[in-house]
């Protein structure tokens, strides 16, 4: 997000942030004149149009404070935002706005000292197997209302982390807080508010889908199954059939309905779209977006980059059991690598020896390559070579991911 015009604090906004219950607030653009950075921590922010009050031009929320502050840590004045559009849940373009653009904020629970409560807070988590694999010293923080992607290839430690959070595995070190609850000490309490979908979920074959879900709800002490029919309809799954007669994809859908049926505050999904056909994957994406718009938090592991790119507000990349990057998708793209195309008036000079260049290709007087790091050294190297054209673009997430796994530190 491009940021501008730091402002100072304002009483109205402070009252809204500290006062009411969890709900959407709509602020006229001339109201939130001031706000302290720390007061915004953890809030879900939406851009909206004043015309028609809450008729939002951006449905997807901006998730974190850092999306809303500039490089020096100051809060950006909403009036500085002129045009914006949601792309995969991220605000990607901003500028100066007119009087018709406003902003709404969803207040989130505040912890001790007024800071926002994270939906998932992991500190120094280590869980190693006898073969030395597992997760090491993992730190993660997922804000409430955020869709958080957890990326990594098979064996990187995604499932180990999720199973440790769920209490299936005991960590050798570290702490886990889920929705403000110490998940290690009060795991049962935590599970009341969590919906979990394992990778390749196994359910009881002798039960029907509906019986499975009713069993889950009864154990939770819930009688209301109002969401179940609606979820089943949207996912197009017959809950009256015995699970042993269903395909793998249909079982996955039943497991997804079971994970959502009790309206959890935090959804933990381990590779949720495995086995789902593309149409259902789209429905799944809609469900996730809806959960987010209702203020729910989603933590999902995946190795499907396009899925993460389109759904997640932020992403963590895990490599050999260690978190190597946590950022927005856009942030990851920005900070890691760029695609560069250069055209020279004459024969292209040899740039392949520059530190930071990869995938170097030359076609006559045109050169293209992937560049890692800041652009200053590149611009300096290019200057004085009769440059005709220079294009620098963000790579797809696949390339970012490959960069993290291709070698070197993040």
């Amino acid at each position: 997000m491009v940021l501008a015009e730091p402002v100072d604090a304002g009483d109205r906004l402070s009252r809204l942030l500290l006062g009411g219950r969890e709900k959407d607030f709509f602020l006229h653009p001339d109201v939130p004149k001031q706000a302290r950075t720390e007061r915004l921590e953890g809030f879900v922010v939406k851009l909206g149009s004043c015309e028609g009050f809450c008729q939002e031009i951006i449905q997807a929320p901006v998730v974190c404070c850092q999306e809303f502050i500039d490089g020096s840590g100051h809060v950006v004045h909403p009036l500085a935002i002129m045009s914006a559009h949601a792309a995969g849940g991220q605000v990607t373009a901003v500028g100066r706005i007119g009087p018709r653009i406003g902003i709404s904020m969803r207040r989130q629970k505040l912890g001790e000292g007024g800071g926002a409560v994270s939906a998932l807070e992991i500190r120094g988590l280590t869980r190693l197997y006898r073969n030395g694999r597992g997760i090491r010293d993992v730190d993660l923080s997922v804000a409430e209302g955020e869709v958080f992607g957890f990326l990594g290839p098979n064996g990187a430690g995604k499932t180990t982390l999720i199973r440790t959070v769920m209490g299936f595995l005991t960590p050798q070190a570290g702490t886990i807080r889920v929705l403000g609850v110490d998940a290690l000490a009060h795991n049962r309490e935590m599970r009341k508010r969590v919906g979990y979908l394992p990778s390749d979920p196994a359910l009881y074959d002798f039960l029907t889908g509906l019986q499975t879900i009713e069993f889950s709800l009864r154990v939770r002490g819930l009688a209301d199954r109002g969401r179940v029919a609606e979820l089943a309809r949207r996912l197009d799954v017959d809950l009256d059939k015995r699970l042993k007669t269903l395909s793998r994809g249909s079982r996955q859908k039943v497991a997804l309905v079971a994970a959502l049926a009790h309206d959890p505050d935090l959804l933990i999904l381990d590779e949720p779209t495995t086995g789902l056909d593309p149409l259902v994957q789209e429905t799944f994406a809609e469900l996730v977006r809806e959960e987010r718009s209702r203020g729910k938090t989603v933590f999902m592991s995946s190795h499907v980059l396009s899925e993460v790119e389109s759904l997640c507000d932020r992403v963590a990349i895990i490599r050999d059991g260690r978190i190597v990057a946590v950022d927005t998708v856009a942030g990851l793209k920005r900070r890691r690598v760029k695609y560069v195309r250069v055209e020279f008036a004459e024969t292209a000079p040899d740039l392949s020896t520059l530190l930071g260049i990869r995938d170097y290709q030359v076609e006559g007087n045109r050169v293209q390559f992937t560049w890692a790091g800041g652009l200053d050294p590149l611009v300096q190297a290019l200057s004085g070579n009769n440059l005709v054209d220079l294009t620098v673009s963000d790579p797809p997430l696949e390339e970012v991911f490959r960069a993290f796994y291709g070698g070197g530190e993040a």
Partner: protein
Amino acid sequence: MKTLFWQYFRARLPGMLVWVGASVVLALVTAASAPAFVEGGSMSGLMKALPSSLQAMMGAPEGLSPLDGYVATQVTKNLAVVVVLYAVLLSLSIVSREVDLHTIDFLLALPTGRKNVLLSRVGVLLVNTAVQSLAIWAFLCADLSAMGLKGSFGGYGLVMFNVWLLAVAMGGTSLLASMWVDDYSLAVKLFLGLAAGSYVLEFVMRAAGVSRIGRFFSPFSYVDPVATLRMGRLGWVDVLVLVGVGLASLAASVRVFERKQITA
């Protein structure tokens, strides 16, 4: 816990019906063969002619009526082992099977303690094996009675209660041991093999004339129908040992299960 119990009871119901059905057939066959062994029957003389070691192995009892002696023999030989094998199989399905099939993930993601999960399933083990033992006793007595044979039917009930205690104790120890075996098919082979082995061992030791004290490590030695029928009550030592082993293994199982690492 009630929900967990009924869910698991329902899961194991078809299996229970099969086992109870097979056990009832065995009980009826046992009863149908009784006339040949009682006084004056064709097998009675043959039994008496056997060497004492074989008589001991077969359980040829002294001081009991021929029918009680026959039933005591058959309980040791056939009926007890069926209940024990079922209990062992059930105990393996409590954790080992769920871990192997990964259904444990669904279960443990629910807001209920591992202890509740385990105890509800052990409850099903207790109920199902009790139903099996009760069915064996009821059909055995009913069939004998229908043939006009009169035995210590109340005593047979005590013997089957003793068998049930043995099944629970062996089920409990299998449950505890299965906490370290996540491969269900391997667990079945291993623990059914051990149960069958201990059954054979008991007969071998009896044939060899090993004393009761010498057979203290043999689980099947804690079911002594002859003594029960002779005294008209269960042996307190047998009951204490079986209940003690059952409770200790259950307590240990809960402790181990609560710390068990459920890997993917």
